[in-house]
């Protein structure tokens, strides 16, 4: 994992920002893909069984996190290895406000996004202020995530190691974001959140702030010599990234009815934010989404195949842990064969 994997097309291939026609076609194309994609995915609950749906929901939560992570680390070039911190802030804000104060998760989403963005900006400011770059920045974010884990485990007000259980309501409630188990709404809501997150990515990449952030990522010295406020450009990327990731956390608590320190702040969570983006393509709009669609259902698919294997695989029946092996192999192959991720590599093939 080096910074060189963060890439963008050579300058002469990018549409010039001041040419309105070009700019429009790019943004318009992305928006059309977004609308069509959402429309297609919205039909999924109609064909999935209840368990298939729960896997799809887990995948959507990964995707929202990965899109968030990608804003800061892909477009902003600040590699975060501690996104669990922001996911956890979301999960715990939602849990605390709901369980102890009866506040609707819809409100928690906004509160958590603002809180998480503030925390993220503070951390990033400290790291950048003291010139931590590359792997040192990544390690610092990792350390912060671990610190939050320890703090939560020792705070009485956050139930220490016990975590929070969301109360099960007797009937559906929009305001409390709780429905019958297996309701397609549980799928459509995170799908809508993901759509908004992708929309924010598209608009951000096209905006002045986003262009600045990418310029700073590609060459900080050049960018600041042209008068770009590098710190500000980077902190905007961080704020958006942490806000989106926190919303994924709020939804997690709501859907799973339970969150503990390990589920919110564990280092596995940070990895789950990174992997889809790496597999799909760092620093691309669609990479994190495609990566999540590949990684999310993977272990479930392997397990399903192994439960009733086709004839030639019958010797594998009942083995467990094979999904992890497949997952690892896929990861290695993708990193070797497609260093820019699935989406990034395919896109570059077309362009040439």
């Amino acid at each position: 994992m080096t910074e060189t994997s963060v890439s963008s097309p050579p300058a002469h291939e990018l549409p010039a920002a001041d040419d309105p026609r070009l700019k429009d076609t790019w943004a318009r194309r992305q928006l059309i893909v977004l609308v069509v994609g959402v429309a297609v995915l919205a039909c999924l609950p109609l064909v999935l069984g209840e368990q298939g749906e729960s896997v799809a929901i887990r995948t959507l939560i990964f995707a929202i996190m990965a899109v968030g992570w990608n804003l800061m680390s892909g477009f902003g070039g600040m590699f975060s290895f501690g996104h669990a911190a922001f996911f956890g802030i979301g999960a715990y804000t939602g849990a605390y406000l709901l369980v102890d104060h009866g506040i609707s998760p819809w409100i928690s989403m906004i509160v958590a996004a603002v809180l998480s963005a503030a925390v993220g900006v503070t951390i990033a400011y400290l790291c950048l202020r003291y010139k931590l770059a590359g792997s040192y920045f990544a390690l610092a974010t990792f350390a912060f995530a671990q610190m939050f884990l320890l703090i939560v485990q020792n705070l009485d007000v956050l139930n220490k190691t016990e975590g929070f259980n969301v109360e099960i309501l007797p009937s559906d409630s929009w305001s409390m974001l709780q429905f019958q188990q297996g309701s397609p709404l549980y799928f459509w809501i995170p799908l809508a959140i993901l759509a908004v997150a992708v929309l924010i990515s598209i608009l951000y990449v096209r905006s002045r702030a986003g262009q600045y952030a990418q310029a700073v990522r590609d060459d900080e010295v050049a960018a600041s010599s042209l008068g770009i406020d590098t710190m500000r450009a980077r902190l905007i990327a961080v704020a958006l990234s942490c806000g989106i990731t926190a919303v994924a956390g709020v939804y997690y608590t709501q859907y799973y009815f339970f969150v503990g320190p390990e589920q919110a702040f564990g280092s596995a969570v940070s990895v789950e934010a990174i992997i889809p983006a790496v597999i799909g393509g760092i620093g691309t709009i669609w990479g994190p989404v495609i990566g999540a669609a590949v990684v999310g259902p993977l272990s479930e698919l392997v397990a399903t195949v192994l439960r009733n294997p086709p004839g030639f695989l019958s010797f594998l029946q009942g083995t467990s842990g094979l999904d992890v092996a497949v997952y690892a192999t896929l990861l290695i192959i993708i990193v070797i064969v497609m260093p820019k991720g699935i989406f990034g590599t395919i896109r570059d093939r077309w362009r040439s």
Binding site: G37, E50, Q51, N165, I168, A293, S299, G321
Partner: protein, 408 residues
Amino acid sequence: MKKIASVVTALVVAGGLAACSGSDGGSSDSSTITIGSIHPTSGALAGVGGLMDDGAKLAVADINAAGGIKALDGAKLKLSSGDSQGKAEVGQSEAQRLIGDGAVALVGTYQSDVTQNVAAVAERGRVPFVIDVAVDDKILDQGYKYSFRVQPDATSMGTSGAESLAKIGEDSGTPITSVAYLHIEGAFGDSVFKAFEKEAAKQGITAVKEITYPATNFSDATTQVREAAASNPDVIVATGYFPDGVLIAKAVSELKPDIRGLYGIANGAFDDGSFPQASGASGQEVLSANYHYDANSKRVGDIRTRFEKKYGKPMETASILSYQAVEVIAAGLEKSGSDDPEELREAISGIEIDDPLLAFGGPITFDERGQNKNATVIVMQIQDDAVEQVFPKDFATKDLVFPVGSNG
């Protein structure tokens, strides 16, 4: 345009992939009844998870061999296994899959956080869930109606662990007054310790020093044991899982603090059949207060013998609990005479099962929270490389040696 088309294609393909993983409709004709079993059969806990899954399988095979569910015209049981991978959210989707495939009841899951999620699924899916192993009190504090637990909870284990320790001290002629308590960080260690501390004060154990160690990357217990020894306690108490338990036993035998014994409560190592081998000389005469299979029971001996023959591994307590949980469900089916989950829940909530496989103080029967009222701990001790039951007398297989080393 070509690019849009291909992105859409990619999305559709991804959707298709996800769709493939949908349930393929578990057929449950009237003569088979499906029970879902959720354990960590892959990942770090795969060893114990696999044993527990096998324990549930053996119970199903035994019940079927004995003629199935008689109240339902000899209907046969079928076990569908799910793998939680040790993760709460995976456990949740496995529970949904099994219920979707027509499971009328669930057993699981070994870990408290996974069990919390599965309990919520069972509650919302209105399917009874019999918890074989999971210690946290909080699981049943939600007021769930569909969850039942066979083993004692953290509070009762911490409490009776303290009672037994005080009693053992008195019986030896010198009461125990000070303890250093080592426990793993997290809900499990915290909750057992809290209960112990409360009861210890009542029992005259006035000085209790708490020392915690991390749940991950714990590779040497010397520092913690040295800290424990510094307070000059009568006894060092330890609560945790298998690997850390072995490390603690080794550190104690290396540092040789002046204590009257090392005493585990709800400890995943000190009464495990493979502990004497893993710890060697350092495991000798280590004490352990825990739930345990009843070594004096003929029925248990028979089940354990057949298990070892069939699966090639000794059947540990966790695995026996999975077997017992399936028996609870079978007894519920017999009692209700129906495979409707609602009626099954009714039946289980009022059930009374004599001759439990565990060394409990009475039949298995559930209070309004779903907790087995008669679940108790007993005290074991490693003697001559074997786990022996030593306290209380009713369950003893060997005499207690306390303070340790007093046998010369």
